[in-house]
Symmetry: C2
Subunit: 411 residues, 2 copies
């Protein structure tokens, strides 16, 4: 009798990955990959060299002598910068470094959620968060959105419905600044209203701010946590951020900002003996002197790529593709005519090396968003963007008859 280790696996596992990794698609319009030329390699080398010379011997100690909350000089820098850019009043003691902001999301869910709980999110929402809610066995209710993000009246309705139903909402998950996938920016009035509603219905807020540094048009509103800080710190808002979108996703460095009641409990859930050291050492050395300039450069690179993507879409899809021009970030959220099922479009496009994210998967309402898709422009170069969008239009025409004509003809 031959042994099958699968027989020992627990029940209820997610599906295994289907195949070994074989490279990214040529037209890589998915995922939060960055611009290859945007990695400041020489500055990274210089920062790493300086920090290893100064602090390298402390690699011998778990937590680099800063404990498992994370390397203190980096936490100090983050606190200072969030004060300046997001209006937050938190000190380094309120920051917990994580292995990417995905670990931050895991920790918040692990802290707050029990199967059967209810959370609220924007109706179009980051698939990684939706997947985590599903795995936690909780219901995620989607709030309608307009060009400024979450609709506060609908939020109020859902909070009220859930209270009446005896299943009050645990927390509101929001990406208020450059929302993923819609790129909307929630105005300060709505942020204030969200806090009021959270207070009225006694729930927490998880503010996922990982794109906020990439806003290139208009002023960055204060973080929701900053507005909460101002009310003598009710501690209702758990904030998380990341270096993935501004610097490099492969680094896997994120952070949580919260009060000690939250952090002390999270530290007992974060059983990994600290997040990796080299990234923290390097960032603590690099960021105070270079990060602001880098972000400005990155925004200019991304805005140019966004312009190329917009032109390519207009040229190849014409009126068939509806979208708002983003004020920041790395993606567009596109609406195609209603006969287009973007899940099917993505399947066919994948065969031609084009990756895109179907709207039905990136939302709480598959039917409503079946003709939407997210397309990312951060990683591919301008030529690849133009080529890929033209190819996609051809595929879309062949399969769904839209845009009306294919090839390099006017549509």
């Amino acid at each position: 009798m031959s042994f099958e280790i699968n027989n020992l696996f627990r029940e209820g596992l997610p599906a295994p990955v289907a195949a070994r990794f074989s490279g990214y698609p040529k037209y890589n319009f998915v995922g939060g990959h960055n611009d290859n030329d945007g990695i400041p390699i020489d500055d990274f080398i210089a920062a790493m060299t300086r920090s290893l010379k100064a602090e390298g011997k402390n690699l011998a100690t778990y937590g680099l002598l800063s404990g498992f909350q994370g390397y203190m000089p980096l936490r100090e820098h983050i606190a200072k910068r969030l004060g300046r850019t997001a209006g937050m009043k938190d000190g380094a003691e309120n920051i917990l470094m994580t292995s990417g902001s995905l670990q931050a999301l895991e920790l918040v869910n692990d802290l707050l959620l029990t199967p059967g709980d209810v959370v609220i999110a924007e109706e179009a929402c980051y698939v990684g968060s939706l997947g985590r809610f599903a795995r936690s066995g909780v219901t995620c209710r989607g709030v309608r959105m307009d060009e400024h993000g979450m609709d506060m009246d609908h939020l109020a309705d859902i909070l009220s419905e859930q209270k009446i139903a005896g299943k009050p909402v645990k927390f509101i998950y929001t990406i208020p600044t450059v929302q993923n996938p819609t790129a909307t920016v929630l105005p300060i009035e709505r942020r204030t209203r969200m806090l009021e509603l959270a207070a009225q219905y006694d729930c927490a807020i998880l503010e996922d701010d990982c794109y906020a540094d990439l806003l290139w048009e208009g002023e960055r509103p204060p973080a929701i946590r900053a507005l909460d800080n101002a009310k003598e710190g009710e501690g209702r808002v758990i904030y998380c951020g990341s270096y993935s979108k501004t610097l490099a996703p492969a680094l896997r460095v994120g952070y949580i900002v919260a009060d000690w009641p939250v952090l002390s409990q999270m530290l007992s859930l974060k059983t990994d003996s600290g997040s990796p050291a080299l990234e923290q050492l390097m960032l603590a050395e690099y960021c105070p002197t270079h990060f602001d300039d880098h972000v400005e450069k990155m925004k200019s690179v991304l805005k140019d790529k966004c312009d190329t993507m917009v032109s390519a879409l207009e040229e190849n899809f014409g009126a068939s593709a509806e979208f708002s021009r983003p004020k920041g970030g790395i993606f567009l959220w596109i609406n195609l005519p209603e006969n287009v099922d973007t899940v099917r479009l993505a399947e066919i496009a994948a065969k031609d090396g084009i990756g895109l994210n179907p709207g039905s998967i990136w939302s709480t309402n598959a039917e409503k968003y079946r003709s939407r898709f997210r397309i990312c422009f951060g990683h591919p170069d301008h030529e690849t963007i133009r080529e890929g969008v033209a190819k996609l239009a051809d595929i879309c025409h062949q399969e769904f008859g839209v845009p009306l004509r294919s090839g390099n003809t006017v549509r």
Copy 2:
């Protein structure tokens, strides 16, 4: 009414951490910290510089173009080295890089365990694994040990008992080479027997080999996974290793070696978008040319510290402290007279800045090991070891009357 976020926490959380980190004890005889002077800083800088120059731009892509299994050149190095040092036949395709070997332990538990399951471990066992089993809601049965590690007849008895009771064992967790905390090395005959028993009782084996590189006396036996490989790869053994003990714990780099049925399922559980990149880049550059030499140096440093610790214990505790001289690793496992409760000893010693690990916590049988403790010698320098052990003997004398006399007098 003031808001208390604690009211939203889920039930069943572990206790929060009691206090903010305020530094390690002066006499730091706990934890897997390394020798500060052992960090090869210049080599790290050189390796980091070379790898960032060559591969830095790929930081823009999740997974460094190697996918979420981990950076391919590092996996290739690990596979090759495990072939040479542990007799393993696995290629890079069987390796999954993890954020420390603690994440490896988490993944194995998440893959295999359901509350109510039964696992088996050495009776004296790494507290981090015991804690994980407790949090997973499983029963961990301890196997008796002698100077060569796990007693195979007792293992057979437990496997049989559990089968008869209708609760067959899911897996055997073992640290076969330089066991933590006993520093025993399981001979090849017992490894073979363990595999036979696992086959007979249809369970898996989790082989935690994170100290194996630090064996300085005697030959390193083949890994249990290597013996399984030889049987045409039943795939029964999941192997994990780490760079924490040989290079630097703050790096947080570990790995799992297993077959695709295990790895494909683990990849769907490892939702962190890959383990951090800088460590993987640096190690892939550093290790092929430097790691073997470094390990030889490290073993010599550790053996010297071990000798100092042994002398200090003999001098200060005399016959009151029973222990075997380790053949490798970073700790001793000491037995004091039975009137000594080492939990209490640790509490009192902590006030004088001495950290040690009580045996009742590092075992599946608190009562049997109440007079044992683990003392680590990897991090403190020779003078600190001598001072700390003398202080500890004084404290022990004052509190428990052993060793018989205190101060710098013969005991």
